[in-house]
C-alpha cells in the first residue's frame, strides 16, 4: 500500500489479463461505496496493483474528462483499453458497473413498487430536496476556473439563457454553441499548452 506514487516504468507489474482487469475494477467499485471513486481507482490501479505509472493514470483522467461519457466510466475504459483493447475496455467497464448497477436496479424495482406509499413519498420528498442542492452545486463547482475569462462567462450565460429562458434543447445548444466556442478558443500562434490534470 505504501508505495511512493510516481512509479518508474520499470517498477510496474506485468500487464493484467482480462480476469485481473475485471477483479481490479470490481475492487475499485466496491471500495468506493460512499464516494471517492477516482481516488480509489488511483490507489488500487497505481499504488496497489502497479498496473500503470501515476503519469499515465493522470493522462487517462485528462482523456476521460475530455471525451463524452461519465468520467469514471471513461477512466475504466481507458485502463482496460491500455492493456487489452476493446475487449479489455468492455471487461473493465463490466467490473466497475456490475455490482453497483445491479444494486441500483433492485432499488429501482422496490421504488416503482412502493413509491406511492405515503410514508415512502414523505421521506423521498426530503431526500429529493437534498439531491436538488447537490445538482445546484455542480455549476458552482467549476465556476472558479472561469472567473478570469470574460468570454467564457458570456458563453456560459448565453448557454444558460438559451436553455432556461428559450427552452432550447441540449443537442441544438451544443451543436450551435460548440463550434462558436471552438472557433473563439482556436489556438493561435503560440504552441498549445496542456493544463495540468485536476483530480475529479
Amino acid at each position: 500500500m505504501a508505495h511512493p506514487t510516481p512509479l518508474e516504468p520499470e517498477d510496474l507489474a506485468p500487464p493484467p489479463g482480462l480476469r485481473d482487469l475485471f477483479i481490479g475494477m470490481l475492487q475499485v467499485s466496491l471500495s468506493s461505496f460512499g464516494g471517492g471513486l477516482s481516488a480509489w481507482s488511483q490507489r488500487i490501479v497505481v499504488e496497489q496493483r502497479r498496473w500503470m505509472t501515476n503519469e499515465s493514470f493522470l493522462t487517462g483522467l485528462t482523456v476521460a474528462r475530455l471525451f463524452p461519457g461519465p468520467n469514471q466510466i471513461n477512466m475504466a475504459v481507458y485502463i482496460g483499453a491500455q492493456f487489452r483493447g476493446l475487449v479489455g475496455a468492455a471487461i473493465a467497464l463490466a467490473g466497475m458497473l456490475l455490482v453497483p448497477f445491479t444494486g441500483l436496479m433492485l432499488v429501482g424495482l422496490l421504488y416503482f413498487h412502493f413509491h406511492e406509499l405515503p410514508s415512502v413519498d414523505r421521506v423521498l420528498a426530503g431526500v429529493v430536496a437534498a439531491a436538488a442542492g447537490m445538482a445546484l452545486s455542480m455549476g458552482f463547482k467549476i465556476l472558479d476556473q472561469y472567473w478570469r475569462d470574460p468570454m467564457a462567462l458570456v458563453l456560459a450565460a448565453a448557454t444558460f439563457v438559451a436553455m432556461v429562458v428559450f427552452h432550447v434543447q441540449l443537442i441544438p445548444v451544443v451543436l450551435l454553441a460548440g463550434p462558436l466556442a471552438m472557433a473563439w478558443y482556436w489556438p493561435r500562434g503560440t504552441a498549445p499548452t496542456t493544463p495540468p490534470p485536476r483530480s475529479v
Binding site: 448497477f101 420528498a125 426530503g126 430536496a129 437534498a130 442542492g133 445546484l136 472561469y146 443537442i171 478558443y185
Partner: protein
C-alpha cells in the same frame, strides 16, 4: 413552480417497440454527454417526462435522488429511466429496459473513448483538441447551471425544502462532508413531515 396538470399521452407502442425506442433514445444521446454526463439531466427530464411520458415529474426527481445516493457513477440514473419506461409492462421488461438503457447510453461514448485512447498521442497536441477542451468548458458550465435549476424546479418542494436545497448546495461547495449525510438528514426531515411537495 406551478404543478403541471397536463396529461402526458404516451405513444401507442408494443412492448418491443417501447424497448427499441428506449435504446435508440439513449444511443443517440450518448455522444452529447459532455463534462461527465450530468449535462444530460435536463434532456433526460424533457424526454422522459414531457416527450415520452415514461415518468411523472416527481418520479423523475425521486429517481435522480436515488441515483445520487447509490454508490457508483451517477450516470446510472439512465438505468432507472429505462426501468420506468417499461414499468407498466412488468418487472422483467422493466429490468431488460433498464439494463438496455444503461448499455445504450454507454456504448457510443465507450467506443469513442477506446479510439481516443489508442490514438491519443497523435492528437494530444492538435489544435482541434485544444479548441475542443477550452471551448466546451464554458458551455458545460452554462448547461450545468441550467440543469441545477431544472432539478430544483422538479423537486418542487415547500419553503423548508428550498432552504435545505440551498444549504446542501453551500455545504457541498464549502465542506467535504459526504452528501449521503445530507440526504439522510433531509430524508428524516421529510419523514417527519417538515419537507413536502
Amino acid at each position: 413552480m406551478p404543478l403541471s396538470l397536463t396529461v402526458c399521452t404516451p405513444l401507442a407502442l408494443t412492448d418491443l417497440g417501447n424497448l427499441l425506442q428506449v435504446l435508440w433514445t439513449f444511443l443517440s444521446l450518448s455522444l452529447f454527454s459532455l463534462g461527465g454526463g450530468n449535462t444530460l439531466l435536463s434532456e433526460y427530464h424533457h424526454l422522459s417526462v414531457v416527450q415520452y411520458c415514461w415518468l411523472s415529474s416527481s418520479q423523475f426527481a425521486d429517481i435522480y435522488a436515488l441515483a445520487e445516493a447509490a454508490p457508483g457513477p451517477s450516470s446510472m440514473i439512465v438505468g432507472l429511466l429505462g426501468m420506468g419506461a417499461a414499468w407498466k409492462e412488468g418487472a422483467w421488461w422493466s429490468l431488460l429496459s433498464g439494463y438496455g438503457a444503461e448499455a445504450a447510453i454507454l456504448l457510443p461514448s465507450t467506443l469513442l473513448m477506446v479510439v481516443a485512447c489508442l490514438s491519443w498521442n497523435k492528437f494530444k497536441n492538435s489544435p482541434w483538441r485544444v479548441a475542443f477542451e477550452r471551448g466546451l468548458g464554458p458551455i458545460t458550465l452554462g448547461i450545468l447551471f441550467a440543469v441545477g435549476l431544472k432539478i430544483l424546479q422538479t423537486a418542487d418542494t415547500n419553503i423548508p425544502g428550498v432552504i435545505v436545497s440551498v444549504l446542501v448546495c453551500v455545504l457541498m461547495l464549502r465542506t467535504r462532508i459526504s452528501p449521503l449525510w445530507f440526504m439522510a438528514v433531509a430524508g428524516l426531515l421529510g419523514g417527519l413531515g417538515l419537507i413536502n411537495r
